[in-house]
């Protein structure tokens, strides 16, 4: 038998330790927590929060494939998310009816459209410089918002589209009580989305750990060297972009299922969705995938409880007008946090933890 290559040794090591490390149990525990949320915290607010954390963690992971694993910054990720949301909304609401088939087709069509657009944009921009991608996606994302807002007849304009869910996913559906909690269509939807997002997440993990994913990381770290090794960087980057964008579109479709409406600001917005996603990926850590869960958890929890925090601050310091102003402009705090994290913790929470663990085990 031939001696194993360093990569093979590394992989067999990884495979042996896969199911016994602490982080594996942490992941299982996290999944269990999300599964139990509707029973532990049955209030609408907490289930909604948990669902949004899951959805955004998936979206951030798909963004991370571009940013962290390929080294390409896209401002159009929110647009692909919106394509998914609008596609489902079109088929379920405006141009169709709520049915299981339409739901499935909505997501599939979104994936197809997203892959075509992603391929087109990457063909357009990567030929020149990778930074063109950021500028061009920003321009095209803004165009998408303008079109979604202005073409009122087609997209419902600023009001957006409301959708209702079919059969077991509809709000009126009920399965009776289980463990003291009423199982409604909403609970079923929660589990469907949790299942889908877990599947998407695992797919992305598989993607990044595949040989293809390793090539992408090589390109990210040193494009010239990867090219010299014979990899056609353009093709690999295009594949990664398309894959990430399709994942984002599917997540968008799931998002539309959960919130029940789409409009340009909440589903397409550069300053809303993109900003959140960027914050999440930076805080969680680029190139880690799991970091997205931490980032999404942090940002979404902060956003949800910020009004409470503001009230608390108001009662504690009723005369501090300045505090009130600052809390009203919480985005300012997020912006400062964003810059600080980029400067001082460019690896984010997850990356820093991994660095620390690696240093300790050595």
């Amino acid at each position: 038998m031939t001696t194993p290559t360093p990569v093979q040794i590394f992989r067999s090591e990884e495979r042996r330790e896969r199911y016994i490390t602490g982080s594996f149990f942490l992941k299982i525990g996290l999944l269990a927590l999300f599964i139990l949320v509707p029973f532990l915290f049955p209030s609408f607010k907490s289930v909604d929060l948990a669902m949004k954390v899951i959805l955004f963690a998936t979206l951030v992971a798909s963004f991370d494939i571009l940013l962290g694993y390929t080294g390409i910054l896209s401002f159009g990720h929110g647009m692909f998310f919106g394509i998914g949301a609008y596609s489902v909304a079109f088929l379920m609401g405006k141009y169709g009816s709520p049915s299981y088939v339409n739901l499935l087709f909505g997501v599939l069509i979104a994936a197809v459209i997203a892959s075509f657009i992603a391929l087109f944009i990457s063909f357009l921009s990567l030929r020149v410089k990778a930074i063109f991608f950021a500028m061009i996606t920003l321009a095209i994302a803004e165009l998408a918002i303008v079109l979604a807002t202005k073409l009122t007849g087609l997209t419902g304009g600023e009001d957006g589209i409301s959708i209702s869910m079919p059969g077991v996913f509809s709000v009126s559906f009920t399965l009776g009580k289980f463990a003291g909690v009423e199982i409604t269509g909403r609970t079923v939807t929660y589990y469907l989305i949790l299942l889908s997002c877990s599947a998407l997440f695992l797919t992305m993990l598989r993607f990044t750990h595949s040989p293809l994913g390793r090539v992408l990381q090589a390109i990210r770290d040193n494009e010239a060297r990867a090219e010299a090794l014979g990899y056609k960087t353009f093709i690999f980057q295009s594949i990664a972009i398309t894959f990430g964008c399709v994942m984002a579109a599917i997540t968008g479709g799931l998002y539309a299922m959960w919130v029940g409406y789409v409009n340009p600001e909440s589903s397409l917005g550069v300053m809303t969705i993109m900003l959140d996603v960027l914050l999440m990926v930076i805080i969680g850590g680029m190139g880690t995938l799991y970091g997205g869960i931490i980032g999404a958890g942090f940002v979404k929890v902060t956003q949800t409880f910020l009004p409470d925090l503001q009230d608390l601050a108001m009662t504690l310091f009723p005369q501090a007008e300045f505090m009130h102003h600052i809390f009203e402009r919480w985005l300012l705090l997020f912006g400062i946090l964003f810059i600080l994290v980029v400067i001082f913790f460019p690896k984010g929470v997850m990356g820093s933890i991994r660095d620390y663990m690696a240093r300790r085990s050595r």
Binding site: F132, E142, I336, I343
Partner: protein
């Protein structure tokens, strides 16, 4: 090397070679095309408005372009600096409201000049802070530059909301800058003419500094090879900060002038015009000042014609032009250096 030889061969051809004139002629012809759908008088009015808008976009885009050319930094915070310029000018006009509303041309121009100087100085200072404190830490990494300047945009725009409030405001305009002239039955607004002249003056000034002064020579050399300039003993860090400040000041001028053009200021105005600026520099070629001017005029004119003919398509036409240019000529109309 082959590329260089090709370029040299191109340059050796006589300047009047028809092949080189053809794209220009086609381009010019395209801008006469809207005449089919627009009455001549409206066409002239639109052309003036388009040229004015183009000149204002040039002010923003040239900053983006020069900063990229020299520092290899894509400044996503340029839009926020643009907005800051508009708001500083807005405050000055509020302070000097007597001069703004006065009948005297001199006082009007005085108010305008003070506003321009104040906006440029304040925003240049912001630019210096931005470059020194934030951007300098991430030289060399495009990814982090974009991230960090995007973060700066959030902070700068939110600061505007804290300082000036989150609402749209009506931009005061000095009295004599308003109104119009009636030239042979064609309505010529005064302010767009001012914008066009201002843009041309700034272009001439930039070209003069770049081509005729020692500083300009250093900057142009820096665009080609920054390390070599440093090796020759020039303080490139001072140079970079200076260029960033100049770019910021140009953005401020553009912001102020654009706010007077559209008669409003609002905290998010920067993001819209930053996009225009990006489209302009992609069309014109990153790093080229002349490219910025040509790109800006193309974008300004096309936007105005299409906004008149098919209002909802106005936002798309520029992106369409950008895509076409990228397909034909990926490095833009006037590619530069590197």
């Amino acid at each position: 090397m082959e590329m260089n030889n090709d370029k040299a061969a191109m340059a050796l051809k006589p300047a009047g070679h028809w092949e080189r004139r053809l794209p220009l002629a086609i381009g010019m012809g395209l801008f006469l095309l809207p005449l089919l759908g627009i009455p001549v008088k409206t066409y002239l009015t639109l052309t003036i408005a388009g040229l004015a808008m183009g000149m204002l976009l040039f002010l923003v885009a040239s900053g983006v372009s020069i900063i990229f050319g020299l520092m290899d930094v894509i400044n996503f915070a340029h839009g926020a600096l643009f907005t800051w310029g508009a708001y500083v000018g807005f405050s000055i006009f509020r302070l000097l409201n007597k001069w703004v509303d006065a009948e005297s041309v001199l006082q009007n121009v005085g108010a305008f000049t003070i506003a321009v100087v104040a906006a440029m100085v304040v925003v240049a200072f912001l630019g210096v802070v931005l470059e020194r404190v934030i951007v300098r830490r991430v030289y060399g990494s495009h990814l982090f530059q974009i991230l960090i300047t995007f973060g700066s945009t959030i902070v700068l725009v939110e600061l505007i909301r804290v300082l000036w409030g989150p609402n749209d405001e009506v931009m005061p305009v000095p009295l004599r800058f308003q109104g119009n002239w009636d030239v042979m039955d064609v309505i010529v607004l005064r302010y767009p003419i001012v914008c066009i002249l201002m843009g041309l003056a700034v272009y001439a000034l930039i070209q003069l500094v770049l081509k005729r002064t020692k500083l300009g020579t250093i900057v142009r050399a820096g665009v080609e090879d920054l390390d070599m300039v440093q090796a020759m003993g020039h303080n490139i860090f001072l140079l970079l900060t200076g260029v960033f400040a100049v770019g910021a000041a140009l953005a401020a001028l553009g912001g102020l002038a654009m706010a007077m053009f559209t008669l409003q200021v609002y905290p998010d105005m920067g993001s819209t015009y930053l996009l225009f600026a990006f489209i302009v520099v992609i069309i014109g070629g990153l790093g080229s000042v002349t490219g910025s001017l040509v790109g800006a005029l193309i974008v300004g004119l096309a936007y105005n014609y299409v906004a008149y003919l098919i209002p909802w398509a106005a936002a798309g036409v520029n992106i369409l032009i950008m895509i076409v240019i990228l397909l034909i000529r990926p490095t833009g109309l006037f590619p530069v250096g590197k």
